[in-house]
């Protein structure tokens, strides 16, 4: 990683929620840390530079890579020029430095820290509705304690779900686009309430000139034809859990009787995806220490015809047998790089596969504010448990100290929300020092809490994985650009 020391006093990240926090200038506390402004890296056949503040991505030849790396490391232009001349000759050195100067003048290289107003109006626009704190599987890595979140197994009553819709429409302020994700446990155990919620939500939203996007996250173990048809007909987005190869999936994802679920789940996933024309779904897997060769799981998924994929690292207690460890990182990094090459190979052959974490959009992606505010957990996004209680996200469900209110009374503990809104990526020292700060939104709050017991301290291993995934995503963007322009 290349970086140069910068004074961050110029960064003005203003924040405020519900008017509780006055607009303030922050960033001063970061003035002694090294802030990454340009990140250079080599991946497969390409040498690349990411200008962090502008988001510009550059493909470099050897001489330019040397020059940008030197400058990014804090060398002066004269020092860089001298080294370039010695290695590549005076003419090349002059050309390279002229191109760097041109990019700088367009704010595409070594661009200055941007000013981002992080003030929000406190609106809630997305809910994770825990339709079931119960599950028909007993997955060994489940963060929800095999579906019951460490509590009583049960389903969300219809009245609670409808009250959640009402809460969201009110808390969404002026937002037009609202989201509800049906989650669990296994949400399809409560299919009747799911249907009622969709009908009620659409009716109420239409009356207010708003619209809902519904998503269901299911283990796909029991999805009868009637349910599949409904989900497809109603255009409900779906996240299907399949870990790839049978032996990988069945090691973790077992029934209450301890039997593997792969064969049943695979068939159901195929039927669901076929029924929606191969669109509006993600096949989502989890990898653990037991399958660090996860490219083979992606190949398995693709081999069965799936094209929209996600494969997530398991986030577990470090003591867990399946938990990823620091010593695994070289293997995981190599696997991600292999996956990037594989995806490009498929794409070139006309069989594009969308891998969720590599699909960066450099042209129409989110604005800087969204990038710094992150996933919105605890602020624009809340989870609702079957008893109607509100939590910052699904991973905090059932944690009494994080209960922010309930769907009937609304937000009753704004101070808890404030803890979450205060820890966007602009507020974290680790993020200021990270080239990927505009790509992850500061990381997962739950991972920070459960790994470090500190919402402001990102989960370090997760950050390292994320940075590698960003590099792979940028690599694919560069390959596409080169192919498109015939270079």
């Amino acid at each position: 990683m290349m970086h140069r020391r910068r004074d961050l006093l110029g960064i003005l990240h203003r924040r405020g929620v519900d008017g509780i926090i006055p607009l303030t200038v922050v960033g001063k506390k970061h003035e002694r840390i090294e802030v990454v402004m340009v990140h250079t890296f080599a991946l497969h056949d390409l040498k690349l530079a990411l200008d962090v503040e502008s988001g510009a991505l550059h493909i470099l030849d050897d001489a330019a890579f040397t020059a940008v790396s030197l400058l990014a490391a804090g060398k002066s232009k004269q020092e860089a020029a001298d080294e370039l001349k010695a290695e590549y000759g005076a003419q090349t050195a002059a050309q390279v430095l002229a191109e760097i100067a041109a990019a700088e003048s367009q704010d595409l290289l070594f661009s200055e820290p941007r000013q981002v107003d992080l003030t929000t109006d406190g609106a809630v626009k997305a809910l994770c509705l825990h339709l079931a704190h119960d599950c028909n599987l007993r997955c060994k890595y489940c963060f929800a304690g095999t579906g019951n979140y460490g509590g009583v197994r049960g389903l969300m009553p219809s009245g609670v779900a409808k009250a959640a819709v009402d809460f969201l429409l009110a808390a969404g302020e002026s937002r037009r686009h609202m989201e509800i994700d049906f989650f669990g446990g296994e949400p399809l155990l409560n299919f009747t309430v799911l249907k009622e919620t969709v009908a009620y939500g659409r009716q109420r939203a239409e009356a207010q000139g708003k619209n809902f996007k519904f998503t269901v996250t299911t283990n796909a173990y029991n999805v009868p034809e009637e349910v599949r048809d409904y989900l497809n007909r109603e255009e409900i987005s779906i996240v299907l859990s399949l870990d790839g190869r049978m032996e990988v999936h069945d090691r973790m994802r077992v029934t209450a009787a301890g039997r593997g679920s792969w064969d049943v789940v695979l068939q159901n996933c195929k039927k669901i995806v076929a029924g929606r024309g191969g669109d509006n779904y993600y096949l989502r897997g989890t990898y653990t220490r037991h399958n660090l060769d996860f490219c083979r799981d992606v190949e398995e998924m693709v081999g069965h015809g799936f094209r929209l994929l996600s494969l997530e690292p398991a986030v577990l207690s470090p003591a867990a047998e399946e938990a990823l460890q620091e010593e695994d990182l070289p293997v995981i990094f190599a696997e991600y790089e292999k996956l990037a090459a594989l995806l490009w190979e498929w794409e070139e052959a006309g069989r594009k596969v969308y891998f969720f974490h590599f699909e960066l959009d450099l042209h129409r992606g989110p604005c800087a504010k969204k990038r710094l505010l992150g996933c919105g957990a605890g602020s624009s996004y809340l989870a609702v448990t079957p008893d109607g209680k509100l939590y910052p996200c699904h991973q905090f469900a059932g944690e009494a100290e994080f209960c922010v209110g309930n769907v009937t009374d609304g937000i009753t503990a704004p101070e808890i929300r404030q803890r979450f809104t205060a820890v966007d990526s602009a507020a974290k020292e680790e993020c200021a020092a990270c080239f990927a700060r505009y790509y992850c939104g500061g990381g997962c709050h739950a991972a920070a809490w459960y790994q470090n017991h500190d919402l402001a301290k990102p989960y370090a291993l997760g950050c390292k994985l994320h940075r590698k995934r960003v590099e792979c995503g940028l690599y694919l963007q560069a390959k596409r650009m080169l192919a498109k322009t015939g270079r």
């Binding site: 550059h58 037009r176 590599f358 989110p366 992150g374 996933c375």
Partner: protein
């Protein structure tokens, strides 16, 4: 075409970062496929999507 030492993949980068700043209508990243591994940069700005 003259060989260049630097090819910029997204010359529109700075503009893309700044469009529709903070309208708050974009998807919530945790409503997407991840649920455990937060990502925002693979989201598409909802206004740009419609444009």
């Amino acid at each position: 075409m003259e060989k260049r030492h630097i090819i910029t993949v997204n010359p529109d980068a700075a503009q893309a970062f700044s469009l529709h700043t903070g309208c708050g209508e974009c998807p919530t990243s945790c409503q997407s496929a991840c649920k455990t591994s937060c990502t925002v940069a693979n989201q598409v700005c909802i206004k740009e999507q419609k444009a």
